[in-house]
Symmetry: C2
């Protein structure tokens, strides 16, 4: 357990879906199944306030979301996409997005890479899990390789480009999660050994979400 880096802030999703901040149970006013009004109480045997339907008694649980993506290595370069959507319009990201119900993390990462970079990839190994508690997101990033040397911007990207490690645009990345992932990757490449990394990205208090370098990487563990 160690703390490294002081770079970017908690990033939003790097893909198809807009940034959602962490859940707020008080905003759940109705039951999505029966339409009944909710009450906000701690259910029997639990510890946290939940939205409970006053008609059918169902509880609306809110849980963190997984954002899955690929770090694609090709000829000692990595593939980045320039975002053509908000948030972080015009900034660079790994292809990534929310994991969907019914798919695995690898399937999701491959799908997002196809949607954002029109690239067919093979996933090689897990590279990082980065939790961002403030916004209820967990990034799961896999190392991958291009099956064919082809890529082009999908509907949410204005440009896709391979960058050598020395040329990664660290000040023009879309999210803190991307700064952390690419820094860890560059360090591992320099050290000659790729590892699996776990860490918690905590935003520095009082800083703007757009300040991608205002974060700490806490509880950094490696396998």
């Amino acid at each position: 357990m160690s703390s490294t880096h002081s770079g970017p802030n908690p990033g939003g999703p790097s893909s198809s879906v807009a940034v959602h901040s962490a859940g707020n149970v008080r905003k759940i006013n109705f039951c999505q199944w029966c339409g009944g009004p909710t009450k906000h109480e701690i259910p029997d045997g639990e510890e946290k306030i939940r939205a409970i339907c006053t008609v059918c008694d169902k509880i609306a649980y809110e849980n963190p979301k997984m954002v899955v993506g690929c770090l694609i290595e090709h000829d000692n370069m990595v593939l980045l996409c320039k975002r053509k959507i908000q948030p972080s319009y015009g900034l660079w990201t790994l292809p990534a997005g929310y994991m969907e119900i019914g798919e695995s993390a690898t399937e999701g990462a491959i799908r997002e890479t196809w949607e954002e970079a029109c690239a067919e990839v093979e996933v090689l190994s897990p590279f990082a899990q980065l939790d961002i508690p403030l916004i209820g997101q967990t990034y799961v990033i896999f190392l991958a390789r291009l099956k064919k040397p082809h890529f082009s911007p999908g509907p949410e990207s204005s440009e896709c480009r391979l960058f050598s490690l020395d040329d990664i645009p660290f000040d023009s990345l879309a999210f803190s999660s991307m700064v952390v992932t690419l820094k860890l990757y560059a360090e591992d490449v320099k050290a000659g050994q790729l590892k699996f990394h776990y860490g918690i990205i905590n935003k520095k208090p009082g800083t703007s979400p757009s300040d991608i370098h205002a974060y700490t990487l806490d509880y950094h563990l490696q396998s």
Copy 2:
């Protein structure tokens, strides 16, 4: 990428919350924010059918849930809890449960271990990510150690016990995810090197959820 094991089926959560099957958008009939009725359509720019509010236009996304837990090593034994709740009442599990909004995976795993085994642990390293697409769950398991040699059953457990690797009750485990995790761990210990494992647990078609050995572990990757 390889496929190993033929053991248990997609496991439910190993903890505080009942098994939820993977989301079904058709069951979302009302907007949880404004109470308006939903329609079920593919939103502009998306690919999947979503529940969209006909009043406020908000989309109700459903995403997989993370189940976080600890594999606690103590004197060459591992700590298991006997479940005192459904599902899988009376069967053995690692302490684990749904990750909550606002916490990290390690915080959640430590919390669940405290709740289910009254044990204070230090997380040592990430051990496994196991996706179960059929039920929309991803297990994230960490290796951990007891800070003090004390544990006792919490309200959801009838018993907590240390098992040597040869004595793990593989036929009385609560979920397939636990069979997979403990098999991978036993193999790593035998080989003399603990790794990080990623895999997809797919249930064999036509088998019962309670048949914990009716699964395949697909897309097994290691770091």
